[in-house]
Amino acid sequence: MTPRQKYIAFLTIFGKEVRRSLRTWKQTFLPPVITTSLYFLVFGTFIGSQIKAIGGVSYLAFIVPGLVMSTLLTSSFQNMLQKFYFLKFQKTIQEILVSPMPAWLVVFSYLSSAMFSGLAVGTLVFCSALFFQPISVAHPLLAILVALLTSGFFALCGLINAIYAKTFDDLSIVSVFFITPLTYLGGVFYSVKLLPGIWSKISLFDPILYMINALRYSILGFSDMPVYHSLLVIIVGIIIAFSWILYLFKTGRGLKA
């Protein structure tokens, strides 16, 4: 395929998937915005007023980056997982496997469309937070970079999950046993510096902690660890996930009999 043909193929997949996400906005965009708004209301406004400021900001402001990050990563993951599993389940993936599109292009096109949804949800959640608490973003460009990288990483994880999944039951394992616990233990609601000794050490093995802190630094200007640590963890994660997927496409694992 020529570069122009690749570009058309990319636009075809991206356009098709984005249109579908927009068409099903009640499932894609609405639930995460409502859920996090409730978090802002309950933990931020009702309970948060009883909690003293962390790092010089109100408790509500403190939890905003964590909640934005957790919805962003969950949406990116779920969006890709459902899209791709459906494609496999319905066998429409065959149209793509038969076509001359190289594997990386297929992955990149799906990745972009899942990131679009993830980032849109993240943005909506952030905007809804502004209703409860005005926040000025300390490092806006860094915030965008962190959001892009995290969204990409989790979309790739969703793709890996979808490729390995054989039944509908396999769709929830990663999310229930890894993503949800690691998110809640990743410092959405607290600073790991406040944890007793051993717990703060254990927390450092949680990759989501780095992502949440990277966004917290970008938005609020402070975090539990240097931001370049966080960026390094995410970039390494993306490289591993992308290579893993290309390997799966090459060997046909989970995609071909």
């Binding site: 020529t2 043909q5 319905q90 066998k91 065959q94 149209e95 496997l97 038969v98 001359p100 009999a257």
Partner: protein, 240 residues
């Protein structure tokens, strides 16, 4: 004559141990209308799926060349030439008929404006014009079949695989479809057809292979294989 498809010693063992192909050799020349016959489970779909990149083949499991392109080396170049009408209907059920075709064109890097003429022609020829705005889920079985035939032709392939294309299509439409396929073949497209209707193969194809238990049992022209007998009798004798 150049070969549209050349298969050398192709073997395939599925996960779980089922040996679906046991060393198949097959050469099909450009412009042929070729029938691949055989009972259920013979390995017809497996052979086609490997060629199209839907079933995994290891390098040591034989060689497949499509218009001279080795699928293990330049698979993406090989795929440009192939059109596939799969046995199982796999179109996206929530998409509109017309959209299925435009999306297919997109996968081959063909823009909407470039694809328009071909898609209009296919909608017309396969009697799908008044269904163009319907969702796939709303089509009858025979209409879905015609849609996936149209879909396979959007990018103007030179080698077309038809895996039981007329299953579930009514008598009248089947005759229209034969006419259409014959025209397509006359325009230069090489066609490989699998079917369980032997008279369909007799009507359309000059050469055929009869495959059973993963091996080609007979290969040749209709006359060579039948030798004055009825195809059905020969077929039953070979595959029993």
């Amino acid at each position: 004559m150049k070969q549209a498809l050349s298969i050398k010693n192709l073997r395939k063992t599925y996960e779980g141990g089922k040996q679906a192909l046991k060393g198949v050799d097959l050469d099909i020349e450009e412009g042929e209308f070729f029938a691949l016959l055989g009972p259920n489970g013979a390995g017809k779909t497996t052979l086609i799926s490997i060629t199209c990149g839907l079933v995994q083949k290891k390098e040591e499991e034989g060689k497949v060349l499509v218009q001279g392109h080795d699928i293990d080396i330049d698979g993406d170049d090989a795929k440009v030439h192939i059109g596939l009408v799969p046995q199982e209907i796999n179109a996206d059920i929530f998409e509109k008929v017309e959209e299925v075709l435009y999306i297919q064109a997109g996968y081959y890097g063909i823009s909407r404006s470039e694809a328009k003429e071909q898609i209009e022609m296919l909608l017309e020829k396969l009697s799908l014009k008044d269904k163009r705005k319907s969702k796939v889920i709303e089509l009858s079985g025979g209409m879905k079949r015609r849609l996936i035939i149209a879909r396979a032709l959007v990018h103007k392939p030179t080698l077309l695989f038809l895996d039981e294309p007329t299953a579930g299509v009514d008598v009248e439409l089947r005759h229209d479809m034969w006419k259409f396929l014959r025209e397509l073949n006359e325009s230069g497209v090489t066609i490989v057809l699998t079917t369980h209707y032997l008279e369909e193969a007799e009507k359309l194809c000059k050469r055929l292979a009869i495959i059973s238990h993963g091996e080609i049992k007979r290969l040749g022209t209709m006359e060579e294989i039948c030798n004055g007998r009825k195809l059905e009798d020969v077929y039953l004798e070979i595959t029993k």
